[in-house]
Symmetry: C2
Subunit: 191 residues, 2 copies
Amino acid sequence: MDAKTLCLGALRMGPASGYEIRKLFEEGPFSHFHQVGFGSIYPALGMLLAEGKVRCEEAAQDGRPDKKVYHLTEAGLRAFDAALMKRPAPDLIRSDVLFMLFFAERLPPERVDALINAYAEAFRRSLSVLDMPPDCVIPPGRRFVRGFGRAIYRAALDYIADHRHLLERTEETPERESCAQSPNDRLERTP
Amino acid sequence: MDAKTLCLGALRMGPASGYEIRKLFEEGPFSHFHQVGFGSIYPALGMLLAEGKVRCEEAAQDGRPDKKVYHLTEAGLRAFDAALMKRPAPDLIRSDVLFMLFFAERLPPERVDALINAYAEAFRRSLSVLDMPPDCVIPPGRRFVRGFGRAIYRAALDYIADHRHLLERTEETPERESCAQSPNDRLERTP
DNA sequence: ACCGGCATGTAACGGGTTACATGATTTT
DNA sequence: AAAATCATGTAACCCGTTACATGCCGGT
């Protein structure tokens, strides 16, 4: 899903400026499952404008820099609906922390501790955003997605609380590479 | 975390060829939280070789193409340990499906259904891999990470089972944009 | 006085994804 | 006979991230 489609989605919820679109992905309702930065948004809006999928109205503000408020056109709406029918790319998860914890035995215990504390804290922060009751009735799709995020973060926090003891120093686990010597052994399970 | 570090991590578990490293990330123990393709692995191994962080032994096989088995050097081991001490990038989650379901009201009910079924199925597949009891004792770090993945996937499946009814057609939800008209309304909660 | 938030953009750089190229062997 | 697996690589391209550039306002 490219930056253009993401912008269309943001505008699907109502007119917005580039700056506001970023907030939607930074702290707003999209933040748990997609991200875009300024560097992608502004060019994307420019392209969408050229393609006639959005229009833009300059809005002068008092005490604030001018704002370009974009909104969907008919073509943009159609393009977005079409994008929603394309095959979704599989979910992508990238976690440096898990990668590091995978090698916990190689790490100083303080490091492991710091890593886990920070990790839990990050989940707590994300949860606190989602746990705030919405200020208004939100449609089912949004409610589902929001609840999904909450469920995942809760599960993560619970798991960390219940299993971090696995990583706390167990007095020098004897350094042992693993039971598998070759990569094949690690994958094959039916001899 | 770049492809080079990821390769070092894979080799940390034992010597492997490029092809085998990919499997580690495709179906192996890293697959839940990091991914790399051939296009990144082979160049990365080449660079690591040039930097003296890995060495390589050509292994002729019977009935198979030749294989280049790479293994860490002292320098490579040190480099990897150093990488484990760097600040981890925040977790990244990218889900087209959730983005689409966010707009469930705009989608034909069959589409929503298909999307959710496929989504659940994907989680079930991931879970089945992790639920297989390991063929040997695995060290605490790996156990923790593996369990983490399991917990998350379980939570996802449970949530879907319990809440998919939210998305099933509720006889024509009256088309209503939302209660928020401007993007600001969506974000501000303290007037 | 300075920092953080609002606001919009550009340019370069880097890196990963995709596609291409090749080829033997095993499975269906 | 075709498809999948094993196996290694290269090259181009796209696209996103990062850094840079600019400027005003409000709060500390």
